[in-house]
């Protein structure tokens, strides 16, 4: 079971940062995000009939007393952000090289926790989707402070075993995420680029702000192996006994091509793409990511 927690140094480093959405997002928390909808706010807008899921504190008991029907009050105010963190729990995420801070999954999970921490701290809602070849677990977005603990527990309880099949998962999410928000996809993206492109396009079609955080191990970038090595596929049931020095150049070329394809797919789908090197401290990487994003949002 992977150890997932939000380290103190990460927490301190990102405490003063925030996650913002580039476009209009549907939400309820005032302040950071311009909402296209009316929500719960101090400035009353209208009543509507209560439905399952509405918070009881918004029920207008006076109207209930007069009409014996449940209405909730709606206010004109800034919306809060609803972010969904889509975390790859496939077996390839287990890899941890000698120079890495953690396995890719641990690193990715820490990233997810960091993001959730930032979101919840700014009173945005954060949800979690764990997937490999299908959606394995899902925590609906919530701004409740307990959401962070729920998320870390969920991420710690996973069992990494299957291969990644991102295409159906992303399509499923695009269909189910009815409210526009930010979707963080944290994965090593070791699945077909066409699936990635289709999924991203679908999410973008649903007006979500999509951010792809590609987690890579330093070993995957430099292929530093010297001696004869038997590479056993974590997801692919293949093994290869090879002199890694001889194959290094070819691998790096294949890697370069892969990264370029990922970059191209993200660009085409108008999704943000950031590579996260697990050799770098996760706090630093996350802080740099959030700073850059904040800067871009300010400029945008």
């Amino acid at each position: 079971m992977p150890a997932v927690a939000l380290p103190e140094d990460v927490r301190d480093r990102i405490a003063r940062l925030s996650v913002g959405a580039f476009g209009l997002v549907e939400g309820s928390l005032a302040g950071l995000h311009k909402s296209p909808y009316q929500g719960f706010s101090v400035e009353f807008a209208q009543h509507r009939e209560y439905t399952w899921g509405d918070e009881l504190r918004h029920v207008d008991w006076k109207v209930f007393a007069r009409t014996d029907r449940h209405y909730v009050k709606q206010y004109e105010e800034e919306t809060n952000l609803q972010a969904t963190i889509v975390l790859d729990q496939s077996e390839s995420m287990l890899y941890r090289g000698s120079r890495a801070q953690a396995s890719k999954y641990e690193y990715a999970a820490t990233l997810a926790a960091g993001l959730a921490f930032v979101l919840l701290r700014q009173q945005d809602a954060a949800g979690l989707v764990l997937f490999d070849d299908q959606v394995r677990r899902r925590l609906p977005p919530s701004a409740h402070p307990a959401q962070l603990r729920n998320m870390t527990s969920a991420m710690a309880e996973v069992e990494l075993r299957a291969e990644t099949t991102a295409g159906p998962v992303l399509h499923q999410l695009a269909d189910e995420l009815t409210r526009r928000g930010v979707v963080f996809i944290i994965s090593d993206l070791l699945f077909p680029r066409a699936q990635l492109l289709d999924g991203l396009k679908h999410l973008r079609h649903k007006r979500h702000d999509v951010v792809v955080l590609q987690v890579v191990d330093p070993d995957e970038l430099s292929f530093p192996f010297e001696d004869m090595t038997r590479f056993e596929g974590l997801e692919v049931p293949r093994a290869l006994l090879v002199d890694p020095r001889a194959l290094r150049q070819g691998y790096l070329e294949a890697l370069g091509e892969f990264l370029r394809e990922v970059e191209a797919a993200c660009t085409e789908a108008r999704a943000d793409h950031v590579r996260m090197d697990t050799g770098a401290p996760v706090g630093v990487a996350l802080a740099r990511f959030l700073s850059q994003r904040l800067g871009r949002r300010g400029r945008g």
């Binding site: 077996e91 390839s92 995420m93 287990l94 890899y95 890719k104 090593d188 070791l190 890579v216 191990d217 330093p218 995957e220 970038l221 430099s222 192996f225 001696d227 004869m228 090595t229 038997r230 590479f231 056993e232 596929g233 974590l234 997801e235 692919v236 293949r238 290869l240 006994l241 090879v242 002199d243 020095r245 001889a246 194959l247 290094r248 150049q249 070819g250 691998y251 790096l252 070329e253 294949a254 890697l255 370069g256 892969f258 990264l259 950031v274 590579r275 996260m276 090197d277």
Partner: protein, 743 residues
């Protein structure tokens, strides 16, 4: 392909080391569970062929490097066999070693003699041929006996060759001069007589290349060139392998001779010893030791011998017993020991036995043909001449053994028994002296047929027509002798009174033919118009024949009653008697021969050879045209005193020493000028080579033979460099290839 150290070729097994390491590496690997397997598989699929090719090339280069290391230490040598693809190169070769085993080959330079180096050259070449395995044949001939090869066309590996090489290893220089033209002529003749032999021949003449052997008076090289010219140039070549040392410092005893011709008991004999300095610096106080039987007599040291000069030492020695004695003179050992000693064997006599054959017996006192001569040889009274004349009739010649006489006088002899003429000729040739007086009984036809033989016989000239002066006063006298001669000493000077006292009333018109009688010398002539020869001398072998154009009595001339006749008769005996050294002093290589009278001596003998403890048994054999039996020892290549022991049919054994000496010129170590040799042999397939430090004669003779270890090292360097480049290229040891992450 030859290898100097073929056993190191086991190192070629190192070729398997890279393969083994490669296989072990494939068994020793780490396991990495890898996420980006798809990328790895894609890269592998794309690069698999290139990687495999690179690995194979690198593996082959490593194997090649191992092989080259093994080859380099085994020192490969490319030979003609390695170039067998070239036309004619792979033909079998007969390698003919002509070994100069003359005395000078014993010259020591450093630790080895030239003879040692010559045998080393042969041994190394045989070893090379064994490794080559091309089946070349080997012939070994020593110059001292070119007719009897030590080995004839033996394969390098067969037992016959090994036996011959073992015999060669035990052989010593023969102390005979090198006859280079004869050596080569014999080798060339053998090759030409063997047209079906190996198609290629290489003649290695291994020699110390001394000037006297190869240049001589300038005609040696020409004769060598003539011999080589007979070889087919495209199928034979000659290498003069120079194994001689450059040091020429050497002292030689060049002669040990008695000053007088005859050695008599009790009469001091003056011995002359000559020492030559062959070096380039003078030598001082050279000690000499005379050995006479058991005696060792130090001679006065030679105070100084200048470079290239001879010094003489004289010593008087008195023999107290008759018989044959041997003397030796020795120098201290130097680089060439062969010429530091010299021997002489002398016959010391109590008296000279002279056979006088009286052709016409006289009726009264002093009336016989030889009476006056007998008196002249051995005058009556107290005068001792040491001459013992024995007068016999002509019939006695048919049975008489001449070996007991020192000189023979034949007076008015009708004819020498024809069947005894060969014995007479051999006796004279071995040092006997024959004096023939003419007379009216002489059968001119028989003399011409048996004794003159158109110049091939003993007579100085053919008999001529008889002339007789009417009166003694008109008879011609003797002319003054024209040159110095011991026999004419008494008549020297134009006003010599003896000249006119001799009147030749009867004479033969003798004519000395310039063609037939080229060696005849006229000692005295008459003063007639024809200047008729009166006393003639002809050398025959070691002896001589004197013809007197007069009778030994007073029938033809007045000379026998003249005092000059006595003097001349005495001089004649001493001139005709064999020298004390005659027949007993041989040069190395000259056969030792001894005639035996089987009636008096058993037909066998034993000879003690210097350096050999056990005497060799000899058995006498008959020869055509000779009543005597002959003992013969043909091999006298070892210098020293040989002792022949004969067993008379009655009495004690006879021990006769013979002195066998090396040619004194063997001590002359002056080297032939290589440029001069090559200039004289220009245009012929002849080269002069010196065996290099490795003794690699095949390389020098075949030309295509080169050491390849440098090439191996160069290839090794190239292979390792290429391997490094390919390995580096395969490994891509560069950090620039790391994909940079996340801008």
């Amino acid at each position: 392909m030859l290898f100097a150290h073929p056993w190191l070729l086991w190192g070629l097994g190192l070729i398997s080391v890279p393969v083994i390491i490669h296989l072990l590496n494939r068994r020793r690997f780490q396991v990495v569970r890898w996420g980006a397997m798809e990328l790895l598989l894609r890269a592998n699929k794309k690069n698999r062929r290139r990687i495999r090719l690179e690995h194979i090339i690198i593996l082959l280069l490593r194997c090649l490097a191992m092989a080259l290391i093994a080859l380099a230490v085994a020192r490969p040598v490319a030979t003609s066999g390695a170039l067998a693809g070239l036309p004619g190169v792979g033909d079998r070769v007969e390698r003919v070693f002509l070994l100069d085993d003359s005395g000078s080959m014993g010259h020591r330079t450093g630790r080895t003699t030239a003879w040692d180096r010559a045998r080393q050259v042969v041994r190394r070449l045989v070893e090379d041929l064994e490794r080559d395995g091309k089946g070349d044949l080997l012939t070994v001939v020593r110059a001292s006996r070119p007719e009897v090869p030590d080995l004839l066309q033996g394969a390098a590996t067969n037992e016959r060759t090994r036996t011959a090489l073992r015999a060669l290893a035990a052989a010593e220089p023969a102390a005979v001069p090198l006859d280079a033209p004869r050596l080569l002529e014999e080798a060339v003749r053998r090759i030409l007589d063997d047209p079906d032999g190996p198609p290629q021949r290489v003649l290695y003449v291994v020699t110390d290349l001394r000037r006297r052997d190869w240049v001589g008076e300038g005609d040696v090289l020409r004769a060598v060139g003539e011999a080589v010219k007979k070889l087919p140039a495209d199928r034979a070549r000659v290498l003069l392998v120079d194994v001689g040392g450059d040091e020429t410092r050497n002292l030689s005893v060049t002669s040990l001779e008695p000053l007088e011709k005859l050695a008599m008991v009790g009469v001091p004999l003056e011995l002359v010893v000559r020492v030559a300095n062959r070096g380039e610096a003078p030598e001082f106080d050279v000690p000499l030791l005379l050995e006479a039987g058991e005696s060792r007599i130090p001679l006065p040291p030679v105070a100084r011998v200048d470079a290239g000069q001879e010094a003489e030492v004289r010593h008087r020695y008195t023999f107290m017993t008759p018989g044959v004695h041997a003397l030796s003179v020795k120098l201290p050992d130097d680089a060439l020991g062969l010429d530091d000693v010299r021997h002489v064997a002398l016959e010391v006599r109590e008296r000279l036995r002279v056979l006088v054959v009286e052709g016409e017996e006289g009726q009264g006192p002093l009336d016989g043909e030889a009476d006056l001569l007998r008196l002249a040889l051995a005058p009556s009274g107290d005068l001792l001449t040491g001459v013992e004349p024995v007068v016999v009739a002509p019939e006695a010649l048919r049975e008489l053994d001449l070996s007991g006489f020192h000189a023979v006088f034949a007076c008015n002899l009708e004819a020498w028994p024809p069947e005894r003429v060969p014995d007479l000729e051999r006796w004279v040739a071995r040092g006997g002296g024959l004096c023939l007086f003419l007379g009216d009984l002489v059968d001119a036809a028989a003399w011409t047929r048996d004794l003159h033989k158109r110049g091939q016989g003993l007579l100085p000239c053919a008999p001529g027509r008889r002339f007789e002066a009417p009166r003694e006063e008109e008879a011609p006298s003797l002319s003054a002798p024209e040159g110095e001669h011991p026999l004419a000493q008494v008549f020297q000077g134009d006003r010599n009174p003896f000249l006119r006292r001799v009147r030749a009333r009867v004479r033969q018109g003798l004519r000395v033919s310039a063609e037939d009688d080229a060696t005849t010398r006229v000692v005295l002539r008459l003063d007639d118009a024809e200047r008729t020869p009166f006393l003639l001398e002809k050398p025959v072998g070691e002896g001589r024949v004197v013809l007197v154009n007069a009778t030994a009595d007073l029938a033809w001339s007045s000379w026998p009653r003249d005092p000059s006749f006595i003097v001349t008769a005495q001089e004649l005996v001493r001139a005709l008697a064999p020298a004390a050294t005659a027949g007993r002093n041989l040069a190395c290589g000259q056969p030792l021969e001894r005639a035996l009278n089987p009636a008096r001596t058993w037909p066998r003998g034993r000879v003690t050879v210097p350096g050999q403890e056990a005497p060799a048994e000899l058995h006498a054999e008959a020869r055509p045209g000779s009543d005597a039996l002959w003992l013969s020892l043909p091999d006298t290549r070892r210098p020293g005193v040989y002792t022949l022991e004969l067993q008379p049919r009655s009495g004690d054994p006879i021990r006769e020493p013979y002195a066998v000496n090396v040619d004194p010129r063997e001590g002359d170590l002056a080297r032939a000028d290589e440029a001069q040799v090559m200039a004289a042999l220009e245009g012929l397939p002849v080269r002069v080579v010196r065996p290099d430090a490795t003794g690699d004669l095949l390389a020098q003779s075949d030309g295509a033979r080169t050491e390849l270890w440098r090439a191996c090292l160069l290839l090794l360097t190239c292979a390792l460099a290429l391997e490094q480049v390919l390995a580096w290229r395969a490994a891509r040891h560069t950090t620039a290839d790391v994909v940079e992450v996340g801008a």
